[in-house]
């Protein structure tokens, strides 16, 4: 009995040490769990991929805007080279590699297709394929995507003779971005008079109606000697992409 009583103090101390180590390990565990940032990185990676695709889209749009306004067709590949280089320098999630290929199958050349025809249709388009690879200890990403940016304009023109050679011309214009109605930033309309293209103005009662859904109707009165009333529509869309279409008006 007396031996038992003399050990009780030591047991108390041992119990205190056990409790202390339990408390400490619990505290350390809570800290370690708090440091887990896997979910945070996963969200950030998704945002990074989204930003990369947005950037790829902007590069293709900007390059098409440049080329359709007279820039070199090699500008698309040049800009994509810089973009993929910048993305490949990002190491926050691991080793990133973005590769691209501009479309070379007809009607595209160097990733660009411009068709500004006389049948009432005009197309400015760019196409590039991308492959993104990310390798890290915890995550591997292998994604392919493409960017097809197309501005298209469709025009229909009609005229009626007012008197003599004076004709009332109506031109209906439809502008599309990626097959969806789009708004124009600038519209210029021309009509052919002998061997030159003329711009109708206030003296021609020029008027253009914007329906707000990508459809515009322009009308003007002009002296045109020929029965072939040719019109040309030049458009810059909100993305600065230029497109034009020519058409011969039908008599009504």
């Amino acid at each position: 009995m007396s031996r038992k009583r003399s050990n009780s103090g030591q047991i108390l101390l041992i119990a205190a040490f056990i409790m202390a180590s339990l408390l400490l390990s619990a505290q350390l565990y809570i800290l370690e769990v708090g440091k887990t940032t896997g979910e945070l990185e996963s969200d950030s990676l998704n945002d990074f991929l989204l930003a990369m695709k947005l950037g790829s889209r902007h590069v293709v749009i900007g390059s098409l805007a440049n080329i359709s306004n007279g820039g070199q067709s090699g500008n698309l590949a040049g800009n994509l080279r810089k973009w993929s280089s910048l993305i490949s320098e990002q190491y926050q999630f691991g080793k990133s590699v973005l590769t691209y290929a501009v479309k070379e199958t007809a009607p595209y050349s160097s990733g660009i297709w411009t068709s500004w025809s006389v049948n009432g249709t005009g197309i400015s388009s760019a196409y590039a394929n991308f492959t993104y690879k990310l390798s890290d200890r915890e995550v591997n990403v292998d994604q392919s995507y493409f960017m097809n940016i197309t501005t298209a304009v469709f025009i229909e023109s009609s005229y009626q003779t007012v008197s003599g050679d004076t004709k009332q011309v109506n031109v209906t214009i439809s502008l599309l971005n990626e097959e969806a109605p789009a708004l124009a930033k600038q519209i210029a309309i021309y009509y052919r008079f002998l061997d030159s293209w003329q711009i109708p103005d206030a003296t021609n009662n020029y008027n253009i109606l914007d329906y707000g859904n990508g459809t515009y109707i322009a009308s003007f009165v002009a002296n045109i000697l020929s029965q072939n009333v040719e019109v040309s529509v030049h458009i810059v869309d909100q993305r600065e992409i230029y497109v034009q279409a020519n058409a011969t008006s039908t008599q009504i």
């Binding site: 708090g34 989204l50 947005l54």
Partner: protein
């Protein structure tokens, strides 16, 4: 003899209390883990705001126009109330290009998170930028 035993037990009890107390003291003085939910929310908000501004090319165009006031105003509107921010814009060679600070208050002595964003300007002359947005709660 009985008195000595009593004193020893009192000392042992004090020692046990001291051990427990010192452990509690250590655990209280441990560096508190940062509130990850709040940090995650900040980082997500920052990235989402930049993505929203970049979605139609506005962000790149504002940078090319060096319209820092408009960028600051956009961040002021889009970020949650009570968030301080500081945005630095670098060109593709990582040279800072914003001539004036794009921030709503000083982030000094605050626990900040940093978000990096790569941006391409949708323009006739395509340019590339790296944005670093630092965010912290005001309180």
């Amino acid at each position: 003899m009985f008195d000595q035993k009593g004193q020893t037990r009192i000392i042992e009890a004090f020692l046990a209390i001291a051990v427990i107390f010192s452990v509690l003291l250590i655990s209280v003085t441990f560096p508190s883990s940062p509130n990850l939910d709040r940090q995650k929310f900040l980082a997500n908000s920052g990235t989402q705001v930049l993505i929203k501004l970049d979605a139609n090319g506005t962000l790149g165009n504002l940078i090319m126009q060096e319209n820092w006031t408009a960028i600051k105003r956009s961040l002021d509107i889009l970020l949650p109330i009570g968030v301080s921010f500081n945005l630095t814009v670098y060109d593709e060679n990582l040279r800072p290009i914003n001539s004036q600070a794009v921030q709503n208050s000083n982030l000094l002595s605050r626990e900040a998170v940093s978000v990096q964003y790569i941006c391409a300007a949708q323009n006739l002359n395509v340019q590339f930028f790296v944005l670093r947005l630092q965010l912290a709660w005001t309180r």
